[in-house]
Symmetry: C2
Subunit: 377 residues, 2 copies
């Protein structure tokens, strides 16, 4: 297979030693030092960062919630019930329609530098609809999460989720998730759903403490979840529990931006040595963005991360939340990377809203952006 | 010349009657109704909006202030003195270097949908340096503003600005501007500079009330300025003065984003019937973005404009602040427009950080984005 050398710009790998160059071969990073290669990408002062890992998205859905967004921006607060609008539209959509839209959004993610993505179900809420959402999700990514417990849908719904729905969905999912919130599911119901999923070998995530304080984060710690997501309203005890149980905090500031909600206490989490991941939470109700660069800029402005902390959270942090070997460019890593049209990754925050993603490489192959390479042997 | 028909999607023109289609000919909008044309752009549900009018930028500069941005994000507040870093780097740069960088940024503006742009001098602060900044600016736009009074540079500086510097710069500028702020110029100094510029036939803008309350906005009203820019700290009396003197408020929320400053009271201005314009304030110190879509998203989230109010401020509002016939697509308008990959302009705020600009047309010609047109006669 072709070997490719990147040289002439700053390269962030998250290895202990700085990289002077980057060499890819057979889809992997094989060296941080310049060596003869089949082709060369001259960075000319641009920088390379690991591909973004978006560890929390709801990419598969039908319908539109522009009007809800507009009325919320005019002053009507977000309520979990808005999800039902999307559920109705998703059920009405054909699987082909769902897949084509999800594919378009996934392409958007890729063009903005996301090379690893998690996708949840949760807008079906019937056995058949949840199953087909996960089928669509599997067409996009290998990180699929069963979120049948997104909002309750009638009597005995938890039994449905832990019974026939889980039976149908577990084979298509790598993780299970639930929305632990007033108006969604309480702690005991979430424990039931997540334990049932875990018993089927699924990893555990939990939407926790988004709209108000509660027991969600501590439940995530109790169950050994990979991540507690949102974490807007967390106590010191919650934070200690997350740290001790090694639960990553997946923060989604774009949702807080688009719902005009308070931002999560990222500094308290980081200062307590909790792993922080940044994700888009891409969904039509509360965060209709696919842009990890935008999330990074928000994290610096609003969550008070440094630009490097934000980049780490958007790459390595996301990989930790998904328990996947990604989000870094150490020797041996999958060659998933982004060439930024900027001298340093700080520009992702310094230049908000500007599309700096010049090239995206996945598994050692250029998948987005113009090919500007020279052959050299 | 070729005629072009846009059909099959929502079209925002700011005319009183809704447009069912858009017809361009000889660089102008000639009809809002479908008619036979040489070529057709099928919108397929996408929408058309007027090209953005960015009425406040500092695109011509040398050097880099990434480190200052990073330290500010770590907690060090913005002070006007930071401008001096850019002044030193700008003076050291060749005119070619300045022009090539400004051109790159102007291209970035165009790709994100800005079809009319204002560019200020202000990083030279010597007769020769201010003159060459305006020369570079003229290579980009016909809306060039002499901002010799950006920060004071030694004894007798105001005399220099109103004397030989104005002599050298007035022929290259369409407007004069000053930075009215503690650490920059006081109200009397600004009055002197702006009056001298006005006497040479230049239109008047003023950086006013950015960092604290003061007499800047009232001075702008007194002098019949086109705009008072920033307006973060304004009293009810200031607002009344602006309304009565028809001074537009140019708001720059991206600067407030990147300096972690309070946002301007846009609703109070709008509710008092002051014309509000949105601009990027693109500059390396406080707002290094060229993206009007980002500014629109911020205006909806932080300034509490509705998506349509924000779009109007980013198009017609900017045109009012520059006293130019642009920012609309009424019959007879210059055919400067953007095709958004979205069903409605609300998506500019609903989908923050996502590049929705599919095509940019200026003067009836496609200048950015893939050509997807069919010939039809």
């Amino acid at each position: 297979m072709t070997s490719t050398l990147f040289r002439g710009g700053s390269i962030t790998t998250w290895a202990d030693e700085p990289a002077t160059a980057l060499v890819l071969e057979d889809g992997l990073v094989v060296s941080h030092d310049e060596q003869p290669c089949d082709e060369v990408v001259e960075l000319d002062g641009r920088c390379v960062v690991p591909g973004f890992v978006d560890s929390h998205t709801h990419l598969v859905f039908g319908g539109d919630r522009t009007a809800e967004f507009e009325s919320r921006m005019a002053g009507i607060p977000y309520a979990a019930g808005g999800i039902r609008t999307t559920v109705a539209a998703t059920r009405a959509a054909s699987t082909e329609e769902l897949a084509s839209r999800a594919r378009r959004l996934a392409d958007e993610c890729l063009r903005s530098g996301t090379t690893t993505i998690e996708v949840k179900s949760g807008y079906g809420l019937t056995v058949e609809d949840e199953r087909r959402l996960l089928e669509v999700a599997r067409g996009i990514t290998s990180h699929t999460t069963f979120l049948g417990a997104h909002v309750p849908d009638g009597d005995g719904y938890v039994d449905l989720v832990t019974g026939p729905m889980l039976d149908a969905c577990a084979p298509l999912a790598t993780a299970v998730d639930a929305f632990c919130e007033e108006g969604a599911f309480d702690v005991d119901q979430c424990r039931e759903v997540l334990s049932a999923g875990r018993a089927r070998g699924l990893a555990v995530h939990l939407h926790a403490n988004q709209l108000r304080p509660g027991g969600g984060v501590r439940l995530a710690a109790e169950l050994g979840a990979l991540s507690a997501d949102h974490c807007t309203h967390v106590s010191d005890e919650d934070i200690t529990a997350m740290r001790d149980a090694r639960v990553a905090a997946v923060l989604v500031p774009a949702a807080e931006f688009s719902t005009r909600s308070p931002y999560a206490p990222a500094r308290r989490l980081l200062d307590a040595a909790v792993t922080v991941a940044l994700a888009t939470d891409c969904n039509p109700g509360t965060s209709f963005t696919t842009s990890m660069p935008f999330v990074i800029a928000l994290a610096v402005r609003e969550l008070r991360l440094t630009p490097l902390e934000a980049l780490r959270a958007a790459t390595l942090g996301g990989a930790t939340a998904l328990a996947v070997d990604a989000g870094h460019l150490r020797v041996g890593a999958h060659a998933d990377l982004v060439v930024l049209d900027a001298p340093s990754p700080a520009h992702l925050a310094y230049r908000p809203g500007v599309d700096l993603v010049a090239q995206v490489w996945r598994g050692g192959t250029l998948v987005s952006g113009p090919a500007a390479r020279s052959r050299c042997r």
